[in-house]
Symmetry: C2
C-alpha cells in the first residue's frame, strides 16, 4: 500500500510553472508576481497540498521534532511531565517522540541513538535507574545535540537541568513523620546512582539529624530497578520488617515504590498508619482514594515538563552556542493525608 500525496512538482506541471517558482510562491516570496502567487496558492489550497516534512527536514537539516526518554510512561509523574512537554511543543509546532527506557541502561542507549539518528532537534531525558555512565549522552551532546535533563539528572554534561526540590521535599516528609511521633523511620528508595536518590536521602538524613535522631543505615533500602521489579520492593520491605526494632514509619522515594509498598503492607495486614506510618513521593491523582489515603510529596510535574521544553527550545533555536546553563529547582508540596497521621490511632 502506498500513500500518494500531491507535490510541488504536480502543481508546477499543472500551472506550467517551474518548481522553484511554486516553492517561492508558496512561501510568499517577494520575487513572485501577485497573480502567479494567487494562482499557486489557490491550486494548492484546492488540492490540499501539504509540504513533505521529510523532504523539508532533509533540506533544512532539522526536523521540528524533539525526543523524550523516560523510564516509564505508565507512571503518573512521568505522564504528567509528558503532558507538559506536549503542551509547549505543540504550541511551538514541534513534534514529540516519546520513548521508554524501562529503567534499562541498554534501552536508554539504543533509544538515544535511535532518536538522534532520526534527527530529532533535541532531547529531553530523565535517566534510567541502571544508568551509571552517561558517555552515550555526552557523545551526542558533544556532536551538537541539545539536551535538557529533568528529574534524574547528571552534572557531567554541561547543559540545562530542571528538578524538583527533592532535598526539601524529603526533609519535610521526614520531619512530618517525626512530628507524628515516629521514632524509627525507614527509607525505601531507588538506585543509589540516581541524583534524586541522593538528594532525597540527604533530606531524609538531615531531618533526622536536626531532630536529634541518629541515622541507622539498616533502615535505608535501595531498589536498584526503581520499583520496576516488584520482588525487589517486597524484599526491601521484608528486610525492614525483620529488623530487631521494626520501623514505625516508612518514607518511600518514588511513585512506584510507594504504591507497591502500600499494597504489600496491605496484604500483610499491617495497619497503616497505626503500626507503620507511610509517606510517599507520588503524583498519583488517586492518592486520596488509597486505603488509607496516602500522604505524599507532590512534584510540579506539568510545570517541569513545560519548563524543560521551553529550555530545550531556547537551546535549539539559539543562533549562537549557549554557554550559560541553568539548574532550575521547582518546589514540591507535602500533601498530608491519613497514611501518616498517628493521632487517629
Amino acid at each position: 500500500m502506498k500513500f500518494e500525496a500531491i507535490t510541488i512538482k504536480d502543481i508546477a506541471r499543472a500551472l506550467h510553472l517551474s518548481v522553484s517558482t511554486v516553492s517561492k510562491a508558496l512561501r510568499g516570496s517577494h520575487e513572485i508576481g501577485e497573480e502567479t502567487k494567487q494562482a499557486v496558492l489557490k491550486y494548492a489550497q484546492e488540492h490540499n497540498y501539504k509540504p513533505n516534512p521529510i523532504a523539508q527536514s532533509l533540506k533544512k537539516g532539522h526536523s521540528r521534532s524533539i525526543g523524550v526518554i523516560v523510564c516509564n510512561i505508565d507512571n503518573n509523574f512521568f505522564s504528567q511531565v509528558i503532558n507538559g512537554i506536549e503542551s509547549i511543543a505543540q504550541s511551538k509546532d514541534y513534534n514529540v517522540i516519546i520513548t521508554q527506557s524501562r529503567e534499562s541502561y541498554e534501552k536508554e542507549i539504543s533509544n538515544s541513538e535511535h532518536l538522534s539518528s532520526r534527527s530529532v532537534d533535541g532531547l529531553i531525558i530523565s535517566l534510567s535507574a541502571e544508568t551509571k555512565n552517561v558517555d552515550h549522552l555526552k557523545r551526542l551532546h558533544e556532536k551538537g545535540l541539545p539536551i535538557v535533563f529533568f528529574d534524574r539528572v547528571t552534572d557531567e554534561i554541561p547543559t540545562h537541568r530542571i528538578i524538583a526540590n527533592n532535598y526539601k521535599g524529603a526533609y519535610e516528609a521526614t520531619r512530618h513523620l517525626i512530628e507524628q511521633g515516629c521514632r524509627k523511620i525507614a527509607h525505601i528508595t531507588s538506585s543509589d546512582s540516581l541524583s534524586i536518590t541522593a538528594e532525597r536521602l540527604e533530606g531524609y538524613k538531615q531531618a533526622l539529624l536536626d531532630a536529634g535522631h541518629s541515622i541507622d543505615e539498616r533502615y535505608i533500602k535501595f531498589c536498584l530497578h526503581g520499583g520496576m521489579i516488584r520482588e525487589e520492593t517486597y524484599q526491601a520491605l521484608a528486610e525492614l520488617l525483620q529488623l530487631p526494632e521494626r520501623p514505625d514509619a516508612i518514607f518511600t522515594a518514588s511513585d512506584r515504590l510507594s504504591t507497591t509498598t502500600l499494597s504489600q503492607l496491605h496484604t500483610m495486614r499491617i495497619p497503616i498508619p497505626c503500626e507503620i506510618a507511610l509517606v510517599g513521593f507520588t503524583n498519583s491523582i488517586s492518592a486520596d482514594i488509597f486505603n488509607p489515603s496516602l500522604t505524599s510529596v507532590v512534584q510540579p510535574a506539568l510545570e517541569m515538563g513545560q519548563q524543560a521544553t521551553e529550555m530545550l527550545l531556547s537551546l535549539i533555536e539559539s543562533r549562537r552556542p549557549v554557554t550559560q546553563f541553568e539548574k532550575r529547582i521547582l518546589e514540591t508540596h507535602l500533601q498530608i493525608r491519613d497514611s501518616s497521621q498517628k493521632r487517629s490511632c
Copy 2:
C-alpha cells in the same frame, strides 16, 4: 546549534571511492569486491556511521514509524496499550510517535493530519469522546494510509479493529452487582457517540433484563467528555443521588470515571459498598489499594496494543491491497474486590 553526522559522502571521500560504491558496500551488494567492502565496513564502524533515516525515508517513500492517537496517556489503560504497541514496534524496528487528543475532536483532526504529513507509515487510533464524524480519518484512509482502530472504533472505515469484549465485560459486572443483591443499579458512562459506550450500555441493559429488572433511563448518565472534566462526573453523580429512589450500586464505564466517582463518594462520606456498591472499568494497578479496593472489569490492554500493532504492520507491509478486514475481540476479566461485596455489610 547544529548536529553534524558522518555521511556516505565523507566515507567516499576518505576512501577515494564513489558514493554509490560506498552505499552498495554498506548494503553488502554482490557487485562490490570483498576488499573494498571490508574497507568501507571498517571505516563506517570506526566512525560510527549511521545512515540518515530522513534521507532514507525520502528515497524509499516510507519512514518506518507509526503514529498513535489516544485521548490521554495519563491513564492506565492507554499507557498499557502503548506499552504493547511499543514492544512490538521496537522489535520490528519501527518508531512510535504518540499524541494525545485529550478527548477533543479538533485535536484529533490536527494530530491525524500532522502525523500523516510527517509520513508515518500507519496509524493506530482510539477515537476521542467528542468525535462524531470520522471524515478526517476516512480521507487519510482513502489516500492509502493504513489505519487500525482499537477500543473506541468506528465501522464507517473498512479496516482492522480490535476491542475488548465490552458487552460481556459490562454484562458480567452488572450481573455481579445483581448477585450481590443490588436492585437499583446506575450506570455512569462516556459520550454516547463512542462505540465502547454503546457496547457497555448494551451489556448493562441485557444483564438487567435477564435478571428480570426493568431499565430506568434516569439511572443512566452520560459524560460527554469521558471524565476529563471532573465537574461533569460530579454533576452526573449528584443527579443520581437526588433521585427519589437512590441507586444502591453504580457501574462506571471507564478508568477516569471510576476513580473520580470513588473519590467523590468518599468526600461525600457515602459508605461503599454498604450504601452504594461500585464496579468500574479500570486497568489501574492500584485498584487493590483503593479504599475500598475496587471491583473492576480489567481489559487486556497490553495484548490489545500488541495485536493492534501486528495488524497494522501486516497492513503496512502487505504487497497487495488488503480487502479482508478483521474485528478482533479480546476477553475481559472481572476482578472482584471489596467495593461491590455487600455481604460484609
